[in-house]
């Protein structure tokens, strides 16, 4: 049966420092929610509050329809995978995977069957009689995942599970996690990461965190295309964030009038225009921005042009140009109105 998660105004403090501030988040049953943010943003604290390792100073934590705020970790029924694997070094792989089942006093026959099933699912069945030291980092993380899955948790917590792996292994493990989620659609996953690629690849929704607060929450596509804050826009992908003014006639970037929807922005209020670099074109077009090329970077399949427009740097990622303009050349950039988002100014976290 699927189990959801709910944080209701959870605040965690260490002395006078607030490390998680009035955190509200609901994760639907079977959903993969990524908590994405830089170091110190409070994402791991939120996960630890859910697992029962930190006690909230205020607020409630719910798993399914149970209020688990006051429950000790061993009674919350969550599986947990951490960055450093945390395998028990003196136990063989099968004993590691069986640990949770033995702790729950499962019958011996069931333990054997479920250990075999979890190892099979993670592709580690052939390594059951090895010690963790005899495995690579990726294999150790698979065992850690098998150990968490063996208890058949309603909720799986993953705390930067791929951070200790090199880029190639990380990519493979990311695909493995996606596959596991497809095979186990009932498990609700809370995935803490600072890596936007992991979050965008794996999550059904992303909760963006900064400075101990939830900044934004939505589907990866939503957050990428329609961020609600400057912080989200700059943290997920790269973005041109240009200070603009909303006037009665429209939106202006210094002396340049732009045709972008002002949304609910008040006239006269400062705002920030967000356009993704790959949505900026070279040459005449709607919302033309004239400027001087400051830098040209060849990136294999693309050219990145950095252009100074009205005193602001605009970046454009363009398909490889046969004859890129040299630095110092006058160029015109443009973007479509529907590719731009107007954000409230001063929401950079």
């Amino acid at each position: 049966m699927s189990t959801g998660i709910r944080f209701d105004g959870v605040t965690v403090t260490y002395g006078r420092t607030t490390v998680l501030d009035s955190f509200d988040l609901t994760v639907e049953p079977g959903e993969v929610m990524a908590l994405l943010g830089p170091s110190g943003s409070g994402k791991t604290t939120a996960l630890r509050a859910l697992a029962g390792f930190v006690e909230p100073a205020a607020g409630r934590v719910h798993i399914g329809d149970r209020d688990v705020t006051a429950l000790p970790p061993h009674r919350r029924g969550v599986g947990m995978v951490v960055q450093q694997y945390a395998l028990f070094p003196h136990m063989k792989v099968d004993a590691n995977v069986a640990f949770g089942l033995k702790a729950r006093k499962a019958p011996r026959a069931e333990i054997t069957a479920r250990v075999a099933e979890a190892l099979e699912m993670t592709g580690m069945a052939a390594y059951a009689k090895r010690y963790p030291r005899e495995l690579s980092g990726g294999q150790q993380q698979r065992v850690a995942i098998a150990r968490a899955l063996a208890i058949r948790p309603g909720v799986l917590l993953l705390d930067e599970p791929l951070s200790a792996l090199d880029a190639r292994l990380r990519s493979g493990m990311l695909a493995e996690l996606a596959r596991l989620h497809r095979e186990l659609p009932d498990i609700t996953m809370l995935y803490v990461t600072h890596d936007q690629v992991e979050a965008l690849t794996l999550a059904d929704r992303i909760a963006v965190m900064d400075s101990a607060r939830l900044q934004d929450c939505g589907t990866p596509r939503d957050l990428y295309r329609r961020p609600r804050t400057e912080f989200t826009a700059s943290f997920i992908g790269t973005a041109n964030l240009l200070p603009v003014t909303v006037t009665a006639d429209g939106v202006r970037l210094a002396g340049t009038a732009l045709d972008v929807p002002a949304g609910g922005a008040a006239v006269g209020a400062p705002a920030t225009l967000c356009v993704r670099p790959h949505l900026v074109g070279l040459g005449e077009g709607p919302n033309a921005l004239r400027g001087t090329v400051a830098e040209v970077q060849w990136r294999g399949a693309t050219h990145r042009l950095c252009v100074d427009v009205e005193g602001h740097r605009v970046t454009a990622d363009l398909p490889e140009l046969p004859a890129p303009p040299p630095a110092g050349a006058e160029v015109t950039l443009h973007f479509a109105a529907h590719d731009a988002v107007l954000l409230p100014a001063g929401t950079h976290g």
Binding site: G52, F53, V78, V82, Q83, H90, F99, A103, A148, I151
Partner: protein, 292 residues
């Protein structure tokens, strides 16, 4: 004129072999340690009547006092070591894993405690549990009785308590070091998997702490076997250990040969235990390295 030729390091090393550098420390060691030890051994096979024989060994081994002392020494040492291991493990667990105000200060105090002389502990216990100590004073003050109930300091139990109190920090120090190396994520994961504290201690913490427990326990066992100050200061009636027997034979009875025989037995016991300790720690270290 010919250019001066630099002497290669390797050649220079061959002219002054490194083993010559060992001579001064070996000579010093021989003079201050091995020579007196050899004298003790020599005296133990040199009866007062002249000549050399193992007769003194036969005499001493036949004495009930020696057998009692040997039994007391082993029993007290084993009991004190077991007590120090249990208490030290529990206290180290609390200090390392249960956050409480002053925990770090206590951890630092352990280091200071290690430098205290052993008789100081006996003295402190006398102040607490002695016939006119604090505990009995509280009792007599509260009940009006003429004497308090605490009267065990001059028994083997008093020696045992004093040795456990004194030697527990020697177990705690290596344990605290081992616990600081333990990945706390392992404890978190174990708890999230459904394990309660006793299972986590038994199945996660204890296996990691075993080498430190073995090291601390062996050290304490050897130190207990040779402990003299605590037994002397406690003044426990009928509690004679090997070091005390050496003292009484040599100083009180003037039987230097007999004292040397007991000393040789004490040394043999210590060396045998040290050998066992080295074997154990080498094996555990090997396992640990293989696991790392």
């Amino acid at each position: 004129m010919a250019e001066p030729v630099a002497v290669p390091d390797a050649v220079r090393r061959r002219r002054f072999p490194a083993r010559f550098l060992l001579l001064p420390p070996v000579a010093a060691l021989g003079l201050v340690f091995l020579h007196p030890l050899a004298l003790v051994l020599w005296q133990s096979v040199s009866p007062n009547g002249g000549g050399h024989s193992f007769a003194a060994y036969t005499d001493v081994f036949a004495q009930a006092a020696f057998r009692d002392a040997l039994r007391n020494t082993v029993l007290i040492a084993v009991g004190a070591t077991a007590g120090a291991l249990v208490l030290g493990f529990f206290l180290a667990l609390v200090i390392a894993f249960v956050p409480f105000p002053g925990g770090k200060a206590i951890g630092r105090f352990i280091d200071i405690f290690l430098s205290f002389p052993s008789f100081l502990i006996t003295l402190a216990l006398l102040f607490v549990y002695g016939s006119t100590g604090m505990a009995n004073g509280l009792w007599t003050g509260a009940t009006g009785a003429a004497r308090g109930p605490f009267d065990f300091l001059h028994t083997p139990w008093g020696v045992l308590l004093a040795e456990i109190t004194y030697f527990t920090p020697f177990v705690m120090r290596p344990l605290l070091g081992a616990f600081s190396q333990l990945e706390t994520a392992q404890l978190d994961v174990a708890a999230s998997l459904g394990a309660r504290a006793p299972r986590i201690v038994r199945q996660v913490v204890l296996p990691e702490a075993l080498p430190s427990l073995a090291a601390g326990g062996s050290l304490v066992l050897v130190m207990c076997l040779n402990e003299f100050g605590i037994v002397l200061f406690t003044g426990a009636k009928g509690v004679t250990t090997l070091p005390v027997l050496v003292h009484s034979k040599a100083i009180l009875d003037g039987d230097y040969t007999g004292a040397c025989v007991v000393a040789v037995v004490n040394i043999a016991l210590s060396l045998a235990l040290y050998g066992l300790y080295r074997t154990l720690t080498t094996r555990m270290e090997g396992d640990r390295r293989a696991r790392a």
